[in-house]
Symmetry: C2
Subunit: 184 residues, 2 copies
């Protein structure tokens, strides 16, 4: 029995989301596609003739403390809000050096020095997000982060990305692609 | 490119390890088998006619601090020692309640209160161990732990298991099977 639900994001000619922009922020790009489908919410039709498929799994939290979890959950509104017709998918992998760090070292870089969780929480509830893990699956990217927001909150989302990319944690990013999406 | 190496342990009629004993410590047992093969070190022949196959992946560490890592690595001798002709495989899953805890709560139960890492380190270098993760793969067990030791160290291994099962952490175990093995 699978307890951590799997996801597939499919790039190709069909899907609920139109790809407005695809940027290789670091490392090699993904092949250009017109549309993105999320198989688990839209069905598997897009898998036929897909240009690429990205795999991930929604797993347990790896860094968040109970206090942070409580603070994050309070203002959260979840995915699928009707006004959230803009989205982004950020596939990302971290360096070997990151993965060889111990848990306390990764936590210290991520939160005590880079304030990753704190930064994300400042943009709640406007920017909803969900993290998927790919590394243990042997997937192309270590992480897939999915974001949803109202078009009017696009400048806030740009701010969020800028803040995260200015951190010490981000120096451990080996590859990052940014896909900006709007609902078709 | 897969960065976290996958493993498959195969129960059946062939393989390097003879199954001396298979006990369902908690939850349902595994079907009885005569032998166990570790595909990644022995080749895939045992997959034909396997009774069961257990999947896991060697991933990054989730709890160990830098200090603990240093202390664990110093006395470690690794797997495959010629005198280590006894082994054990412990497939195990934890409860939903465990996985819903935050990282700091799991760490507190595991080490500050249950001394899991400290207990394991007391048995080094005699008992070599390696942990594999199965949960995010959708595998049958959340964890597979592999142990190797000299036959003369069997009582010490029994001690180690007893100590781990007496902890608060172990109350979160939903299913555990213990396979005791000797090299054929």
């Amino acid at each position: 029995m699978r307890t951590t639900p799997a996801v597939r994001f499919v790039g190709g000619a069909t899907g609920r989301w139109r790809v407005e922009r695809s940027i290789a922020v670091r490392g090699s790009p993904l092949a250009p596609v017109a549309c993105l489908a999320h198989v688990e919410t839209e069905g598997s039709a897009a898998l036929d003739g897909a240009t690429w498929v990205l795999h991930g799994v929604r797993s347990n939290e790896r860094y968040v403390t109970r206090d942070e979890k409580t603070r994050l959950l309070a203002p959260q509104q979840g995915l699928g809000r009707s006004q959230a017709t803009s989205a982004a998918l950020i596939p990302m992998s971290k360096t070997k050096a990151w993965w060889e760090l111990s848990q306390d070292e990764r936590r210290a870089i991520m939160e005590e020095r880079s304030h990753h969780i704190g930064i994300g929480s400042r943009y709640l509830p406007a920017i909803a997000r969900r993290l998927f893990h790919g590394r243990d699956l042997g997937a192309e990217f270590d992480f897939l982060t999915w974001f949803e927001f109202a078009p009017a909150d696009t400048p806030r989302f740009d701010d969020l990305l800028g803040a995260l990319r200015a951190t010490e944690e981000w120096t451990y990013v080996e590859r990052e692609v940014e896909l900006r999406l709007t609902q078709r």
